[in-house]
């Protein structure tokens, strides 16, 4: 069997006595859209933050591309190609939409002292290429008309789209998206998922938390269900929808 791109083994994260993530196992193979669902407070965002290195797991290990990343700093995990888009966009409000995109690209040559001093042509060519890519992605997320606007002037939905665009700009191997369709009208939400699906054909793997189940289930290859910190169900959308544990997670027990 092919080695999973992301492998989580018995990961727990607690805050005082509260186990936000409790002995979670999970495998994500390369390519496609993978969903993570569960009611409020079930531990989805904590699991995301643990994958991203924002929290260190109290127990267990996380492997990306065969390498343990549990103890790496967030920027090192980003460097490996694990990128995220936050639920509440964290943009540079005083910078243009285009500049926000460019900041997100990985491996800027101009960041290195020697390159910036002696290989001007090289990093300029790279930047020009990045601008082309950024413009393409902005079109893809329906922000083409806002390229030179300040990020702080965007509406709530547009900010969300820019956050997704920035994630794509980093050319991630694994992009974690926290509720990309929240606060966006259903038609646009669906079209974003369609575009993510297209992107996934080019090798990017998406791991998505989404409360708009009807959109996620239409596009996801595989869905994990969390409840009270534990992974309680998983499978193809059709199987999850017919699983009692899925409904118990959302409707609660009597």
């Amino acid at each position: 069997m092919e080695e999973a791109l992301l492998k989580i083994r018995e990961v727990s994260k607690h805050f005082g006595g509260l186990y936000a993530v409790n002995e979670v196992d999970l495998d994500i193979e390369e390519g496609g859209i993978w969903g993570l669902v569960g009611p409020n407070g079930s531990g989805k965002t904590t699991l995301f933050n643990t994958i991203l290195g924002l929290y260190k797991p109290d127990h267990g290990a996380i492997y990306f591309n065969g390498k343990c990343i549990s103890n790496l700093a967030p920027h090192d995990i980003y460097g490996q190609g694990v990128v995220n888009a936050f639920q509440l966009p964290r943009l540079f409000n005083q910078m243009s939409v285009l500049d926000n995109m460019l900041v997100a690209a990985r491996g800027h040559q101009g960041d290195k002292c020697l390159y910036s001093l002696f290989w001007r042509k090289s990093w300029q060519a790279q930047e020009e290429g990045l601008i082309e890519e950024a413009l393409d992605i902005l079109k893809l997320v329906d922000l083409g008309k806002c390229t030179f606007s300040l990020a702080g002037e965007l509406s709530g939905g547009q900010r969300k789209l820019l956050e997704v665009g920035r994630g794509l700009m980093a050319k991630p191997r694994l992009l974690l998206l926290d509720e990309p369709a929240a606060g966006i009208n259903p038609a646009l939400g669906k079209s974003i998922f369609q575009k993510l699906k297209d992107f996934s054909c080019n090798g990017t793997t998406f791991f998505i938390v989404e409360h708009r189940l009807e959109i996620l289930f239409e596009f996801a290859n595989w869905v994990y269900v969390m409840n009270r910190g534990r992974m309680v169900a998983q499978g193809e959308p059709h199987d999850v929808v017919n699983s009692p544990a899925f409904y118990e997670a959302y409707l609660g027990e009597e």
């Binding site: 009611p39 409020n40 407070g41 929240a182 409360h211 708009r212 189940l213 009807e214 289930f217 239409e218 959308p237 059709h238 929808v241 017919n242 409904y247 959302y250 409707l251 609660g252 027990e253 009597e254």
Partner: protein, 242 residues
Amino acid sequence: MAPVFMVENVNAGYGDVVIVHGVSVKVDEGEIVAVVGPNGSGKSTLLKSILGFAKLFAGSIFYQGKDITGMASDRAVSMGIGYVPQVNNVFPNLTISENLDMGAYHRKGRASVKAGLKEIFEMFPELEVRENALAGNLSGGERQMLAIARAMMAQPKVLLLDEPLASLSPKPVSVILSKLRKIKEAGTAIIIVEQSVKKALSVSSRGYVLVQGTCAMEGEASSLFAEESSKQRYLGLEAKGY
């Protein structure tokens, strides 16, 4: 018999954004009804719009047969409408008895407040034993109980509860539910907004299901989720034909 409290065809939201579309809910005297729905379905916005904390774009609110649409929240409370928000629902730097005193703001005379306090402590003996404890030091369940007790100090005829079971572990949940039954038996009607669907329906006679701001289903609490398709409808998955 006219319902003690009713909202009719309410459109509500924030700024220019309409979140709740044409929702109607009613509760009879001494009845508990549940308004359930997934995240972002508009449950809390509906409650907030009743008391003016969210914008009411259209629709009417009736209390004891009287149209009270647009009434100031303090007047609504003094008329007999109690409201317990989901968070920030106690004064953390005040003691339990001071919090209860704040709930009795509209009651006239010290004797009346004292009598109210006695009644509340009979219903919530857990609070009496800790009456001098700061509300900020209480557990989640105790805090929620205090918030409900504080609202009861105003002698409401109808109590609006916004997710009183959220983030509570099973034991405090069953304690809160038993308190709600007692409040109902004492004659106060309750509208409970909840995501713990089955728990909320277990104490309710009827339920309303909100999905993306509209009322997708309503009916007897015991039969609301009897069919598999209703569970899919609750999660917005029905149209996909799984």
